[in-house]
């Protein structure tokens, strides 16, 4: 259908000087999928004419037409009026005349066009700085509200829905098992491979078990779980709460005298805080198992040896460190997810922004918190 049908005459636009003034002859097929002629000759003729010249259209040979023709006529008419020519609108096709009336009849609201504002580097810095300040204030405010509503729940002034909490636990716990399994197994595998290549240089492949078990329990187990959960659950929290805000559900809760923080945010946060350490322990075990797979199959270490080295290398405190870290990460993920969700704007794209920024915020928080805790452990020799 695109392009020009050979059998139909193409659109043509011709201007002629007549005794009465200018005559614009429009002919052929003027549709959006036809090839349209240029109007430069007509405009030139209009610009060359004196004001109060009469401009008439001859549209007798127009066949099919659509908006392509109407906009052409509008452009020519406007140019003519601008030049001071008088346009004989009765020479137009009646339907086009109607449409032109419709276009000009509806009140044209003149909103001033937004001024083109050039942002200097200073303003950019300023807005960046105020943005950071606002973020910090919003974070502190959210923490404050959270504390207050927790206090309300403890003092039984607002209601905490156990059922919701349990649903959230199921949602972020058991359903995250498959992905946590796969990722931590592979991380254990990778640690074993990378470590073994280096250790074999000293003939110390035996120590793969130490490397994997310590690496998993102290760092990788909790870190990988945290990153998985921030992508999986943190983003989901932000999107759920954000959508509820867009649908006025959060405002509806407020009007029913239900505090959204106690009703929506606390169950989610408590669920994740409970589940994170458990998932982390599970990830530790899976990682150690992954390392064992590599050591047993590729590097010829016996099962007994691997187990023995692992038991000697890992102490209870290593598990506890992972446990504590993952609890902290759980708080951070749930906090950023819920905060971004509650701060969400009221459009479809705002929900996407909230989910993105929940993941970014929680990963930044996680890495910062992890460095601080590792530093502390190092300092005190734990």
């Amino acid at each position: 259908m695109k392009g020009l049908d050979i059998t139909t005459p193409s659109a043509s636009l011709v201007v002629q000087r007549q005794p009465f003034g200018l005559e614009v002859i429009v002919a052929g097929v003027w549709t959006m999928d036809a090839v349209l002629p240029s109007r430069s000759q007509v405009l030139k003729a209009i610009h060359a004419s004196q004001s109060s010249t009469l401009l008439r259209f001859d549209m007798s040979a127009v066949q099919r037409w659509d908006s392509a023709l109407v906009t052409e006529i509008i452009a020519i008419t406007q140019a003519a009026q601008h030049q001071g020519l008088s346009v004989d609108s009765s020479s137009l096709l009646p339907t086009i005349q109607n449409l032109l009336n419709l276009v000009s009849a509806l009140p044209e609201k003149h909103h001033p066009p937004k001024p083109p504002h050039r942002i200097t580097w200073l303003e950019e810095w300023e807005s960046g700085f105020t943005h950071i300040l606002q973020e910090a204030f919003a974070t502190v405010e959210f923490i404050g509200q959270l504390c207050l509503s927790s206090l309300d729940v403890i003092q039984k002034r607002s209601h905490f829905r156990r059922l919701d909490w349990w649903l959230q636990v199921q949602d972020c716990g058991p359903s995250a098992f498959p992905i946590v399994t796969v990722i931590s197994l592979l991380v254990g595998l990778i640690l074993a491979f990378v470590g073994a290549v280096q250790l074999s240089l000293f003939g110390a492949q035996m120590y793969i078990a130490n490397l994997v078990s310590l690496g998993m329990t102290r760092e990788m187990g909790c870190l990988m779980t945290a990153i998985i959960m921030s992508g999986r659950t943190g983003a989901a929290y932000a999107a759920q709460l954000g959508t509820m805000r867009v649908n006025d559900e959060i405002d509806a809760l407020r009007t029913m005298n239900l505090e959204p923080l106690a009703f929506l945010v606390l169950p989610r946060m408590l669920a994740l805080i409970l589940i994170m350490p458990l998932l982390c322990l599970y990830a530790d075990l899976m990682g150690i198992f992954g390392g064992a797979l590599v050591s047993l199959t590729v590097f010829d270490i016996s099962t007994a040896e691997y187990l023995d080295r692992t038991i000697h290398a890992v102490q209870m405190k290593d598990f506890l460190i992972g446990f504590v870290k993952s609890s902290v990460f759980g708080v951070l993920i749930a906090f950023s997810g819920c905060m971004r969700g509650m701060q969400c704007g009221r459009s479809a794209s705002a929900v996407g922004d909230a989910a993105t920024s929940a993941v970014v915020t929680s990963i930044v928080f996680i890495v910062i918190a992890d460095s601080i805790m590792t530093l502390i452990c190092n300092r005190f020799g734990i």
Binding site: M32, A68, N98, V103, L106
Partner: protein, 258 residues
Amino acid sequence: MPQSVISVEDLTMAYGSVLIQKDLNFSVNQGDIFVIMGGSGCGKSTLLRHMIGLSSPLKGDVRFGGQSLVMADSLQRQQLMKKFGVLFQTGGLLSSLTLGENISLPLTESTQLSAGKIREIVAYKLALVGLAGFEDYYPLQLSGGMQKRAGLARAMALDPEILFFDEPSAGLDPVTSKHLDDLILRLRESLETTIVIVTHELSSIFAIGNNGIFLDAETKTLIAQGSPQQMLATSQEAKVLNFLYRGNLPSAEGHKNE
């Protein structure tokens, strides 16, 4: 005899195992303002979705000028889709694009017009719906009524032969809703477009509708057909009269005397 533009034949619609409407037969004529009426939840919007090819029916067919939409292959379907424009309940404008970009999107995608010509067409369409000069605004910066009108401008971008409206007056105040009705009437007069409207706004139904059907949720089929005035005068169905009288059904004698 007016020419039939859309004919719906034995259309049966279902969501999964839930039957929505069955055995619908009607046709929309050239230049009609065709109103699909019925109580809430009777399947009006579902019918519209089937007529524009967003859902496929369990049985039956929707034909545009003799060509089947249900049986069409993807190329034919594209050609058919170009024939109609749709205004969705909440406007359906893409919120990440400005009004100008929203309207020029179908133009750049399915025509080979120059950028300048597209700009002119966009300006003209916006002027038609009374939003001249709003090209650079984002949908969220506009009021609900303006968003609807901008949605209408986008629906008309490709000069469709048929316009579909899903609850055009939902969420608008009576005055704005009347403006929209006037706009629809004027556009129909000037462009000779056929219009299909899903609505339960009584004032709109009587003001602009000249043909229509009434769907019933219980019997799951259409129980009245014709212009709203005709329905009011001739229908024997209590449900139809109840709807058209807004629940204040006059006594049977009173109705006969009218």
